[in-house]
């Protein structure tokens, strides 16, 4: 534990102090720095323990408490504002010390925890996170060890993607519009075979490019009977809607379809 390098506690006239002077005499301005060096009472206690190369598990409470109180007295003498935590720790140390001095009366109370146990637990816990902080600080991090590599992008203008639509949205929209239409009652919508309407679109599409096609060419034998019927119905519907017309030059001649107009 003593191997852990301590940062300089203070600089006095430019001289770095890594060890507090044994006689505890610290120039006032250095003490202020010293107070900032410690992260709190646990940190100060850990420092005192490490400095004397003691085992946390066997803290000589009387000694440590005395030293701790000396520091506190000095700080107060110098009218440094002491955080309440330091005073709380002093009270706790005094309590532990007094309990250790009491004789252990009965066997039953032998079971009682060592009054130092809680202090030891907290010191060790804090020590772990002191270590963790060092480990974290040592990790390679951006802007110190590693740097984001970037190249000037060729363009910055953003693209706005078209809105996504789900099939369910579509169905919901249709249901809604049909419900609304039914409410008004003017236009009862009857469900039509989709495939006929689809085929109507396909026939029209075909005529869009060809303008003129043989009736028989619309049929695909591989679609089977259903396919033939659907195509036939589509053609009939288109005729009824006056989109198409049938042309036959003479009886039994081939029938042609063409767009009206």
């Amino acid at each position: 534990m003593d191997a852990i390098a301590q940062p300089p506690l203070a600089r006095v006239d430019g001289e770095p102090y890594t060890q507090l002077p044994r006689d505890l005499y610290i120039p006032p301005d250095a003490l202020e720095v010293f107070l900032e060096t410690f992260e709190g009472p646990l940190d100060l206690l850990l420092y005192l323990i490490r400095r004397q190369n003691l085992d946390i598990l066997d803290i000589p409470i009387a000694t440590v408490t005395r030293q701790y109180m000396d520091y506190l007295a000095l700080m107060r003498e110098l009218r440094l504002e002491l955080a309440a935590e330091y005073l709380l720790m002093a009270a706790w140390l005094a309590e532990i010390k007094s309990r250790l001095l009491l004789p252990k009366p009965t066997l039953a109370e032998m079971e009682e925890d060592d009054p130092r146990a809680e202090l030891v637990r907290r010191l060790r816990e804090y020590e772990r996170f002191q270590q963790a902080a060092k480990v974290l600080d040592a990790l390679p991090r951006l802007e110190r060890e590693t740097f984001v590599a970037s190249a000037e992008p060729p363009c910055r203008e953003s693209v706005r993607p078209p809105p996504p639509v789900g099939l369910n949205d579509l169905l919901a929209a249709l249901r809604e519009v049909l419900t609304r239409a039914e409410l008004f009652g003017h236009h009862p919508i009857r469900r039509e075979t989709l495939s006929v309407r689809e085929r109507m679109s396909q026939v029209l599409e075909r005529l869009d490019t060809l303008r003129f096609t043989a009736f028989t060419e619309l049929f695909r034998p591989e679609e089977g009977r259903i396919g033939l019927v659907v195509t036939f119905l589509a053609v009939l519907e288109l005729l009824r809607e006056a989109v198409l017309e049938l042309v036959q030059s003479e009886p039994f001649a081939p029938i042609y379809l063409r767009r009206q107009g």
Partner: protein, 200 residues
Amino acid sequence: MPALKTILEAVLLAAGEPLPLERLQKVFPEAEQPEREALRAALAELTVDYAGRGLELIEVASGFRVQVPGTFSPWVSRLWEERAATYSRALLETLALVAYRQPVTRGEIEEVRGVSVSSSIMKTLQERDWIKIVGHREVPGRPALYATTRAFLDYFNLKSLSELPPLAAPRDPDAIGAELDRRIAVPSSDSTTSTESPDD
């Protein structure tokens, strides 16, 4: 120590801005600063290395800069896509009517919806390549007949229009199952059965 051109590559990529030769020199300790000629030679090597890659080294007014060549802008620009907006209910209803009632005229859509269909909706749907004009109805005014496109089917992962969900869609079978379980669980005197009903 890494090669000069490798150090320059690292420095230029980390900088994120054009660096003049003087600044490139200054990334080396004073005693080791390369001559400008050495720097220029190393930068020329990098330029060659980058041929056919996703980056290029160019000299601009304020120095040398690594940039992504313009040929990559189709991909790069998609990085900053804005959030997609959503379509209006009017547009979805129009699309649904074209899908289920095609070929259909705008007037027919308006009749069912009870309101007029704005031109911008028809334009948007055509620009998205989801609907197109497949003909005209031979009535006065020869209104255009709209149908859905192949791109529409592709977008919705449909092989043909017959795969569109039927209008009177049956309820989700899972939901029906859960409903049944709930109903069956009630009359049961055994309180443990209720714990067996699936969560819904």
